[in-house]
Symmetry: none
DNA sequence: CATGAATGAGACTTCATTCAT
DNA sequence: GATGAATGAAGTCTCATTCAT
């Protein structure tokens, strides 16, 4: 009973780990099974196909990283400005993890672009995040919070992308955070 | 003689087209050969392996898109501020093409991360671009042009990434350009 | 106790249904279990293997269709000629069912040809039937009843086979019955 | 050039041999490749899938056996009655081969029944054969040649089926031929 | 130079069967 | 008795790569 949930969970986590490390096509069901400690057949007992497993793993990954209790941290802030700082600081601190997830999302996009569902659900989680940023920027009192929230998030994504592609930022992360903060909050 | 160069070129372009449309593993040598109008064996006559071909195609793609005569356009500008606008406008106008290339880069990263060479050469092209942006921002007189140039480029990359992943920006592109311009040039 | 017999019977009937509809290799234990309303393990509780189950189902099917109270019907006939008609009419009226069973027999033949037992027992049932036909033809007074009984049965089998393979006979069934009757009884 | 046709032919013949000996699901692509003397990949170079190969092999088999130069033999006959004898003699002489082919046809039926094409083309060949029998019976001057031709063919099919299922006829083949001849030609 | 037939490693997936609960 | 999670052997099919012509 509890076992069942556990095995499925184990497979899902193993899949997430592997798919964030390598590309979808490079990772084999065998690899995942081995890492999860189950047999190849076991994977198919819980998931219909490799693709379905990857999709589920992707959603899990996005939820784990993006839905990371940022709400609590924002609640603990005294001023709106502080909130902005928390958002920037938070996003860029887990930049390596973020970049791996981004790679995975990007990879899966190729396999899911013609279907509706998977990317949609990720988009929804993403939009939730944008909304929080927008509200926060509004509270700070900046002009055009709608546009600015998207630009701020794009900024962070772009930096993550640079890390992903080049493995380094060449600039001190803390200076970057500060500069971004100044740019948006003035 | 000229023929030779042509065939190789044809294969390279066909590969670039296909690899920007689908993922590396999805595209087959057969597909590329067919699109290039040569035989499967022909591809291996000019390239050692699929991976080598993909790398060459990637570099070609990056050069074609990033090294796109921006220099000339910048030369035509009268004020530094105008140059910044050209940079922003240019990058975001070809956003669909950019996003496809980004996907390809991302895809190849998985296959090349453990080796030195390919990603390095792309990085170099990228750094060239950053340098131009930095110089331009300096001329405008903003503070911390080094940091700001990276942030501006990250901003643009992040927007491209959103297009790539979600197929839409939900915001008018021109308003975005203007807002970004204001943000960085004030 | 009674339950036990019931479960086994349920499985057997479910198996017969499925094996007459699709081929042995296409039908899975899961399918049978589902149709019988038991678990996969349940099937193996009553039968050693898929093949053994199929054999038992085959014999059941043959008995159900061939041993179908033809004796009673023959007993009700007043003349030997009437008996011949009953045999022909009976066999060809259930032609669709017969053809499904024939397909199953044929299918199983591949899996059992190298072993003695299953096909033997079916053959025995078959020989019983031939004997009845032979006796009946003797009573009618035809020449060579031994040969003719086999030819008559072959005739019917051949028509069933045509139905099986081509799904239609292209000829009115009643005319056929009458013609066959005339041919053998004159 | 000639090679190409040869290899495809070799595979087709190997497939026909194996599929007439065992069931579709039991025969593996590996088996066929081995018997044809090519690699597994070679099979897929010429045929899209196992099923497609089996269909092609089936049609080949039917053509080879059914379209067997019966026309020439019939042309050589002096009287219509002689023709009938040739038909009966011919069909029942190759009864073992016929029964193997029948098993294959039957087997494939399961996999092709929901699609149009394969069984249709076999049916056409079959109908051709019926037509010849009908014409011959007409020439002999029997009543209802349309019905009788179908019954005669059914007779032969039924005997083939008995051979297939029980491996023996229990009756001398020549007596059978004679009896059938008498039955239809009188 | 060019072709495309041939190879074979390796991927995904199915499914009969076992067994702990 | 009954369940269904787990196994793993085996099958189909793909595709980069080679090589004779």
């Amino acid at each position: 009973m509890v076992e069942k949930r556990d095995t499925k969970e184990k497979i899902l986590r193993a899949a997430l780990e592997m798919f964030t490390e390598s590309s979808y096509s490079t990772v084999t069901i065998d690899d995942i099974a081995k890492r999860a400690g189950v047999s190849k057949g076991g994977v198919f007992h819980y998931f219909d196909s490799k693709l379905q497993l990857a999709k589920k793993a992707l959603v899990l990954g996005v939820k784990m990283l993006w839905a990371k209790n940022i709400d609590e941290q924002l609640d603990g802030c005294k001023t709106p400005a502080e909130k902005v700082w928390v958002i920037i600081d938070n996003s860029l601190s887990g930049i390596i993890e973020q970049s791996k997830l981004m790679r995975f999302i990007n990879d899966m996009y190729t396999y899911c672009k013609d279907e509706s569902g998977t990317m949609e659900s990720i988009k929804n989680i993403w939009e939730e995040h944008i909304k929080i940023v927008k509200t926060t920027l509004s509270e700070v009192g900046v002009s055009n919070p709608g546009l600015k929230s998207r630009i701020l998030c794009a900024c962070i994504d772009g930096l993550i992308y640079q890390i992903l592609t080049f493995q380094e930022l060449k600039i001190n992360l803390d200076s970057l955070k500060k500069e971004i903060y100044d740019l948006f909050v003035k």
